[in-house]
């Protein structure tokens, strides 16, 4: 699994639960090191062990932990770069949702060996959407759920999100948009790189 994904989980654990717990997880998973490198690729088995040990350490189910990872990636200042990249997807939450179809391509454009599962958004009436997350990265749909939740806050939209289980090869997420301009949301300026 790509180092960026492993590093994201590491960053989440260190910032939410503290470095010592992360070190405990790496030891329990027999990692042999503490820091993942964002630009290296690791064996899937390694990531698997880390995630298993992490859930054991936290005493929480994997889906919950992964959803928190997704929320963390958008809302924490440490990963502001990622939030900005996602905000380039559109000026409104609906535009952002529609840009998700391009997400794997956008990711590849930035980091050529980063493979994310294909995503497909279908829109039904009454502000209802279904996002199909294809297989390839176990648990990705839960991370996505967290990202979608946090991005709704970012845009100031009020949404209801639900993981609708698996249909054929895809994990389904149901999105109901209740109000587009529910809250202020966070600002996004195209040229805000001078940080």
């Amino acid at each position: 699994m790509h180092g960026l994904i492993n590093k994201a989980i590491q960053s989440f654990v260190c910032n939410t639960y503290g470095k010592s717990r992360w070190i405990r997880v790496t030891e329990a998973a027999h990692l042999g090191f503490v820091e993942f490198e964002a630009m290296l690729v690791y064996d899937d088995e390694v990531s698997r062990r880390v995630l298993d040990e992490l859930c054991r350490e936290l005493g929480r189910p994997e889906r919950e932990v992964l959803e928190d990872v997704g929320t963390y990636l958008v809302s924490n200042p440490n990963t502001e770069a990622l939030r900005r990249l996602l905000r380039f997807g559109g000026v409104s939450y609906v535009e952002f949702l529609h840009s998700l179809d391009d997400l794997p391509d956008r990711a590849r454009l930035a980091v050529s060996d980063l493979d994310l599962p294909a995503l497909e958004l279908t829109e039904s009436t009454g502000g209802r959407f279904t996002l199909a997350c294809h297989s390839g990265l176990r648990g990705f749909s839960y991370v996505l759920l967290g990202i979608l939740r946090a991005m709704a806050d970012d845009y100031g939209a009020l949404v209801m999100l639900e993981h609708a289980g698996q249909v054929n090869e895809c994990e389904m997420i149901e999105i109901t948009l209740i109000e587009t301009d529910f809250a202020e949301g966070r600002t996004f300026e195209l040229g805000a790189r001078a940080r």
Partner: protein, 360 residues
């Protein structure tokens, strides 16, 4: 006139940075994004060339002349911020003016900052947003790569350090000494070299064991580091063999004092688990200036010869190399020397003041 209004409406939707010129080269209407760049300025009615400075094509008579040439335009605002723009110009039929479509080109990165532009300021087909996305995404990826590179560099330096260090004593190893000696022999700075061999070390190892031997070597290393200067080299090149290199030092008396002091201190008993370990040392010394061309192998061999001379004198002493030692006398405890060894030193000669060194 109706046509012109329709045209302006279309352009507004398709090219938010358009300029519609009348036949006189005045701005008849301007796109919303272009106007956003100069909110205080009423563009309509101004001469185009009054607002913009034309960089290319250079030297043109009128806007009409440029329009009919169909050239690509490079221009910038006359007032600050002097944002660079590029554009295309197309003449309207019947000499009724022209349409110019402008774009930021590469200045887009500064422009979005300077003017707080948003996605809505670009046409739906403009790749500006994708370009900005890509720049940010690549910068983030580059930053991550840079972090990795720094870490790898750190690891490389540590590995190199390790490759040049004798792990037991922390002294430099043979490989490090070879590098340093090669550098010195290629340079012009004179230096001297000592080959130090421990005496009676084997009996410490044999009677008290390897742990005692290791302890003694560590103490020996500490003493040698203490008795030398920071830019001198102390290397362990074999089990109980060491080479010391002294930069700039050619003074025989000073070298004698150093050798004497080293031997004296090494003869002080070293305690290990309550047992006294008693050793001593023999030293051979050579000055780089004793050779016309001081090659590393010659110097080491010369120091060897001096060392064996010291050993033959009953150990616990030092000897300087001199050309009389050139032909090795078969030494009881020395390594087997080839019969041709003497030939390696055909150039060896002792330099005396006022006498040019000459190849033998």
């Amino acid at each position: 006139m109706k046509d012109r209004e329709n045209l302006a409406y279309l352009l507004e939707k398709l090219c938010p940075m358009f300029v519609l010129l009348d036949a006189a080269g005045r701005i008849a209407s301007a796109g919303p994004t272009l106007q956003k760049l100069r909110p205080e300025m009423e563009m309509v009615g101004k001469l185009f060339l009054e607002v913009f400075e034309l960089l290319r094509p250079r030297s043109v008579a009128s806007m009409q002349a440029i329009a009919s040439s169909g050239a690509k335009l490079h221009l910038r605002f006359r007032d600050t911020p002097r944002t660079a723009l590029k554009g295309v110009i197309v003449p309207l039929p019947g000499d009724e003016g022209a349409v110019i479509n402008l774009s930021f080109g590469i200045s887009i990165l500064d422009a979005v900052r300077d003017y707080a532009l948003t996605s809505a300021d670009f046409s739906g087909t403009d790749l500006a947003i994708e370009l900005l996305y890509l720049v940010e995404a690549k910068s983030a990826a580059m930053e991550a790569s840079r972090t990795l590179n720094l870490r790898l560099q750190g690891a490389m330096i540590a590995a190199e350090e390790q490759a040049y260090t004798d792990t037991l004593t922390g002294l430099k190893n043979r490989r490090a000494m070879d590098h340093i000696l090669a550098r010195l022999t290629n340079g012009v700075t004179p230096f001297s070299l000592m080959h130090l061999d421990l005496d009676y070390f084997k009996s410490v190892n044999d009677t008290l064991g390897h742990a005692a031997g290791d302890h003694v070597l560590q103490q020996v290393a500490r003493i040698m580091v203490e008795e030398t200067r920071g830019d001198d080299t102390v290397a362990r090149i074999g089990g109980d063999e060491f080479i010391l290199i002294f930069n700039h030092l050619q003074d025989k008396e000073k070298l004698e004092r150093i050798a004497r002091r080293l031997i004296d201190r090494l003869e002080e008993p070293i305690l290990f688990n309550g047992e006294k370990c008693q050793i001593s040392a023999s030293i051979g010394i050579v000055l780089s200036t004793q050779f016309v061309s001081p090659e590393a192998s010659k110097l080491i061999h010369a120091a060897d010869l001096a060392l064996y001379a010291a050993k033959r004198k009953g150990r616990a002493t030092y000897r300087f190399y001199n050309r009389n030692l050139t032909l090795p006398v078969v030494a009881e405890d020395g390594p087997p020397d080839g019969g041709s060894a003497g030939n390696d030193f055909s150039e060896a000669t002792e330099r005396r003041p006022g006498q040019d060194a000459q190849p033998g």
